[in-house]
Symmetry: C2
Subunit: 333 residues, 2 copies
């Protein structure tokens, strides 16, 4: 992968996170009134976004978006990364752009001049550190195949797509275009399933995509069970065998399992004080892909994933507050 | 004070903080090139704000503003508070308004419809947790005497003013108007000196104001030394004697000293892991004034100040992330 200008290109919904603490009672009430699913990503429209914002507590803002977080972590680890995602030409769009470039990610998707505002994700963090997300996609919905720069895709060792991109219809086309361009250039394509409800919404498309386009798949337990419509974790290895070159399954405090053909590696989680799990999976993927694009053994790549995830869950907000490369064992940094 | 609708009204520059980690080398370089004073509040214009934003690291955003932080902490402690400060009618203004109201602060200053954007403070946090602030006042500069609501001031037991308000010229008039209205209604007026350089810029005005209008003065060591142009802390008690009814001097990890006529109380700081000192003084003032407006003994009020400050410095951002009232000793809550 030494001929690639960038190690990792990620493509996703460009969002600013609005993070607030919330009680279990508040989550329960919102579930009863609005079907807000705890610990998941709920898609909401602008009216509902305004209503929820008016009801939630004081917040902090942090650039977010699943793939955006992954690129930010990848850069913080020392990797050379790029990002494609759509913001609007507004204050929150400026914030998003700043945060990508400031951490060292190449980012120049043209912002949306006319239309919805920059998308945002209202993240409600319960006392156990679990996050329940409510996303108003805003300008992110306008990402389309024209935003996929062929030259950029060809210059990246791995192109990584977030499953959430299947929600905005044009983004799905952008998704497939990016996969085809990456393979045409001899590169790898990775996908994260993102969320069990997102998998529910687009199961057939995901199964087709995984079969045809994906080399490296990231998923957590709920997502992979949802994809194959099974309820027992033990059924998973046989089902995923040969679906892709490599599969990384994250299991929260149980760590992760990496399957590479017949080779299976179990990687422990890194213990930390859990404040807010927002971005944990994004950080894990960044760490794994950093190790992978550096050519490290897969179990070491998984350990870097655990290190990145543990930093991100130790504070409010989905992006690293520490310089992740300083947390790496010496041989990996 | 039981007849007051609100315990505390604070008036200040309404700002959104943009907080990022920075190295000592970066601070030093900015000092050499732009005179940026470490550990102080530097006033900057829009051009410089854009330049600095382009050079600083990835950030998180949090509603801030010294007096705004104090009202937020006061509400989090369980107090009934109000705030006056000017934002613009834009996304960051919405964020500021949301955060005040969501924490329970009464806030209805009319936002600026035409003119500069919502003000922001770029906060650079060095590895020792010290914050160096760079403020573009934006819409905050447009606060004027018409924004001071006589009925509101009269309904508040204490009106608290931040010294930073002396920077925008019209705000100074608003400042004096609020003091006069508060006293006319038989209420108390408190002031924080805010920053040693701010005191330098307006020393004579501050001395005059303290003499004529202020009942309760908050200052840290550098600020009070700057006000009286002395270098020895031991000279302070004699100088401040009889200047106001009460003076609270904060001394970072040495805690605080409360002087009430002949009575002097020394209050220890509450130990914590210092991540970011932004808002420490604001939180201390909130805690002290919460105890004071509840009629608690002054040393207990000081202890609540220490508790509030210790929470705020344990994470990035100037506002509480915990519910401060849950941290109070049972007798005070």
């Amino acid at each position: 992968m030494t001929d690639a200008k960038y190690g990792l290109l990620t493509i996703g919904n460009a969002l600013v996170d609005v993070l607030a603490h919330a009680s279990e009672e508040f989550i329960q009430e919102q579930y009863q009134k609005h079907g807000m699913e705890r610990a998941s990503m709920n898609l909401i429209n602008e009216t509902r976004a305004k209503e929820l914002y008016g009801q939630m507590g004081p917040a902090i803002e942090s650039s977010g978006g699943s793939a955006g977080n992954t690129s930010a972590c990848y850069a913080s680890l020392g990797g050379n990364g790029a990002y494609i995602g759509k913001v609007a030409d507004d204050q929150l769009g400026e914030v998003f752009k700043h945060d990508m470039r400031a951490i060292g990610v190449h980012y120049d998707t043209t912002p949306l001049a006319v239309g919805p505002a920059t998308g945002r994700c209202m993240v409600l963090v319960t006392p156990d550190g679990e996050r329940t997300m409510n996303t108003f996609l805003g300008a992110a919905v306008e990402l389309d195949p024209n935003d996929i720069d062929e030259e950029l895709v060809a210059a990246c060792a791995v192109t990584y797509l977030e499953g959430y991109l299947f929600d905005p219809p044009q983004a799905k086309e952008a998704f497939v275009k990016a996969s085809e361009l990456a393979h045409k250039a001899g590169r790898k394509v990775a996908l994260t399933l993102s969320d069990p409800f997102c998998v529910d919404r687009h199961r057939d498309d995901f199964l087709d995509l995984v079969d045809r386009h994906i080399d490296i798949l990231f998923a957590n337990e709920d997502e992979i069970k949802s994809l194959f419509s099974v309820s027992d974790w033990n059924d998973i290895p046989a089902l995923v065998d040969k679906k892709c070159e490599m599969i990384c399954l994250t299991r929260s405090e149980k760590g992760s399992v990496i399957m590479n053909g017949q080779d299976i590696y179990e990687v422990p989680a890194k213990a930390t004080n859990v404040v807010d799990t927002t971005g944990a999976g994004d950080a894990y993927a960044a760490g794994f892909l950093y190790g992978y694009t550096q050519g490290l053994p897969l179990h070491e790549a998984g350990e870097i994933g655990s290190i990145a995830a543990s930093e991100v869950i130790s504070h409010m907000g989905p992006r690293p507050q520490a310089d992740l490369k300083t947390l790496l064992p010496k041989k990996a940094a």
